[in-house]
């Protein structure tokens, strides 16, 4: 890391000579490994080591950005040139701020040294076992399209010329299995994943069984009659929906008039049983961090408390415009990204009833286990959605036959008010940082036959 610090210091000196004032560098380096198994063989095997340097600075009072993956002294000139050119066309009244740093940053754990001790062959064995077990469970399993394990470690360094230097080391891993089962002309698919930097959380048999069970249950599924149904929304599916609309909480989206939460601060926007939490300190959370993309300390907050919208999410630029403090939600996907706003670990707070109690409470309705087309059939601005869905009928308080080839439609903002009961089974979606328990929805429009 020290050779790169030297490079950054040189960059700052040269940039200063080109009249760049406040400036900041964001450096990261990482190593990754992933493996995918197909029919007992290693189909894909991938190793990566990567580095990159992002740079931003003020020139004539306006900010400009640049980055490079060729991290060497001969890249300094282009980094400076791009920042100057980008700042020169920047006509915005709202400008980013280079943060001078805070006196206190809460300590969080983002690195698990145990994971780095797991060998590649152990990871490969895990994936092979998972696939083998999936095939052994049921003769109707025809193909595991994906059976993969991936892990990585990264180091990031945030450094500016106002005295701030922050470093973070983190590691993580994820695994998923995606398979198809077939019976006669019927075919269905099952999926299961785990995201964690604790290797003991990866149970090949449990994962394989969950994916196989999910696929088998969905065989011989049928469409249902068009109409309004009471809905039990699966925890991960609800988390996917929340993730797709999470930009509504961004103060920048509100300022630009592209959030339906504009002007709703302090108002009731959801059923009182709904609270939504943004928790950057969540233990084992995917987005757990002590500082955000601008180096601002992160904070815990209830964005929606008992149905009432209490705050938007801020970075420094948006906070300056509204005359408030940053909530530590500046996002910076990588050294290539400009600063945006994003939640940390965002989830709907658990209720008290377990899943079985929720099913009983629904009595007659539809349990939705999968929504497809969230990236296209869901308008993140208006909240309107019309999505392909799968699930099971709930009849007399029991889960019964499988349902497929239906669409479910509605509006997320209406949905927030129609949430009647929130379960206790909080789970996080494939994004890793967005979570929800299973939730009962008063009713939604289903199109079938």
């Amino acid at each position: 890391m020290s050779e790169y610090k030297t490079l950054i210091e040189q960059l700052f000196v040269k940039a200063k000579a080109h009249n760049i004032q406040d400036m900041e560098a964001y450096f990261s380096e990482g190593e990754n490994f992933s493996v995918n198994i197909f029919k007992g063989e290693i189909e894909d095997y991938k190793l990566a080591n990567s580095i990159g340097l992002g740079f931003r600075g003020f020139y004539n009072g306006k900010i400009g950005y640049s980055y490079t993956e060729k991290v060497s002294f001969d890249s300094i000139e282009l980094l400076i040139k791009d920042v100057i050119e980008n700042a020169t066309i920047n006509d915005s009244e709202d400008q980013d701020v280079i943060f001078k740093g805070a006196s206190h940053y809460k300590e969080v754990i983002t690195y698990n040294s145990e994971l780095d001790l797991v060998s590649e062959s152990e990871k490969i064995t895990f994936a092979k076992e998972m696939e083998k077990y999936a095939y052994s469970l049921d003769s109707r399993v025809v193909a595991c399209q994906a059976c993969m394990f991936s892990s990585g470690t990264s180091n990031t360094l945030l450094m500016n010329n106002k005295g701030l230097t922050l470093q973070e080391k983190s590691n993580g891993a994820f695994s998923y299995i995606y398979l198809a089962v077939s019976e006669g002309n019927e075919m269905s698919t099952g999926f299961e994943f785990v995201i964690s930097n604790d290797f003991t959380k990866y149970d090949p048999k449990k994962m394989a069984k969950k994916a196989v069970d999910e696929a088998i249950k969905m065989l011989n599924s049928k469409t249902i009659k068009t109409g309004e149904y009471r809905i039990l929304l699966n925890n991960r599916v609800s988390a996917d929906l929340l993730g797709a609309i999470s930009s509504m909480f961004s103060a920048r989206a509100v300022q630009k008039g592209v959030s339906m939460l504009k002007g709703k601060l302090g108002q009731v926007v959801a059923n009182p049983c709904v609270s939504i939490i943004d928790d950057p300190f969540l233990i084992n959370g995917e987005a757990t961090a002590s500082f955000d993309g601008e180096g601002v300390p992160t904070v815990y907050k209830e964005v929606i408390k008992n149905g009432e919208l209490t705050t938007y999410l801020y970075n420094l630029k948006a906070a300056k415009k509204d005359g408030v403090e940053s909530t530590g939600n500046a996002s910076r996907g990588s050294y290539k990204s400009t600063i945006g706003i994003a939640p940390s670990n965002l989830y709907i707070k658990e209720g008290t009833k377990d899943f079985a109690q929720l099913v009983k409470q629904v009595s007659d309705g539809l349990y939705i286990t999968e929504l497809s087309g969230i990236h296209s059939g869901f308008n993140a601005i208006s909240g309107d959605f019309s999505l392909g869905a799968k699930g099971f009928l709930i009849e007399k308080g029991e889960i019964t036959s499988a349902v497929n080839q239906i669409t479910v439609s509605g509006n997320y903002f209406t949905l927030l008010n129609k949430m009647m009961e929130v379960g206790s089974d909080l789970a996080f979606s494939t994004s890793g940082n967005i979570g929800s328990p299973s939730i009962i929805i008063e009713s939604l429009a289903i199109a079938g036959e």
Partner: protein
Amino acid sequence: MLDKNTINDVLLAAVSTGGDFAELFIEDNFKNSISYIDGQLESTQSGRDFGVGIRIFTGTNAIYAYTNSFKRDDLILTAKKAASAVTGIKRDITFNLQTKEIESIHSFKLMPQMVDKKDKLDIMKLAYETAYNYDEVISQVAIGYADQTQNIAIANTDGLYVKDQRVYCLITINSVAEKNGEMQTGGKRPGNMAGFEFIKNLDIKDLATKASITAKTMVNASYIDSGTYPVIIDNGFGGVIFHEACGHGLEATSVAKGTSVFSGKVGQKIASDIVTAIDDGTMKNQWGSTNIDDEGSDNQRRVLIKDGILQGYMIDRLNGMRMNMPSTGSARRQSYRFAPTSRMSNTFITNGKNTLDEIISATDHGLYAKQMGGGSVNPATGEFNFAVLEGYLINKGKIGKPVRGATLIGKGNEILHDIDMIANNLDMDQGMCGSKSGSIPANVGQPALRVASITVGGR
């Protein structure tokens, strides 16, 4: 980039443990992006992606490694590390890197790296002003611009050494209309594998107006009733359904595994007689074109379906070995970070005999999907769903009131048989296609066509 000696030695290190074949993909890519919202610059970014991908084959399995380092020692170390995953006996592989000269079929006039950023912004401002001032119902407009200059070199242990350059420019226009607390959107995103001259020559006012017309139309539209309809899908982006629901199933990635519904069906009837579909990577300056694919093979024009009969697949080298079929020049990847695999380029259904008016007149009651949004497909079952961005009801052979919230669902292999009329207005639109080897530029296209019956989700 890298000198030939270094490349040679890295390749040798890659096959030092028993690999049958090794390949290097070297990328040096200059990118610029600008975002303009609310009459102000929102963000700009400029940068350089640089990296080297090393791929080793052992039988029909592959190992991939990449690094951002350009240093000889690091590259050899990376190759050796990747090679250590191969457990075989070192083979006697000799090669002599021969430079393959390619004659570009594309022309780039104004290189985006040389164009003043202010010129880029000026066009964005014009798009913004036009879209925003179209109607008072337009509450927000966001304009995006992106270009990239991708320089690549590919070398492998067959002795191939080839270089190419791809230049891309894209502008996106998104209008938001707001009425009674509801918001609806409309958009356009023209792009080409071309220099900045492509952006300069666009009729930007017309595009911006069209984006706002869609937003305004949809904010005034009512929800469509759920049900089963004959659906007329208009030209251009309407081709996204063929792309998602059929195209992906014709990529060797899924065919080789036997997980595609189209596996083993060459020569069989998979679509109605009037359907002919092409994947053509050789179209001049088109968004999905390249001179060579990302393994260095010459790009081709591939006939996928002719008169309803399946003719062939899109195949890369590795899957070709698995299928015992030659590559069709279809290997693509987002960047050095991805191993290449078979992907689409410019994929479209060819012109039919009717006109759009004739098709509308011949439809008693149905849905006219003038503009499609995105969608997704379950590759194993072929089940798809697509959003209709701009739709209208058809009543007694005439276009009626606009409808919103329509989603089309069905199965890819079934919908192909249900196409009963095709118009003669083939057009293409630009998309970013995401799959195993990353997100790549791909054209989708078709003339207007009618599907006899599709389940439509609404309210």
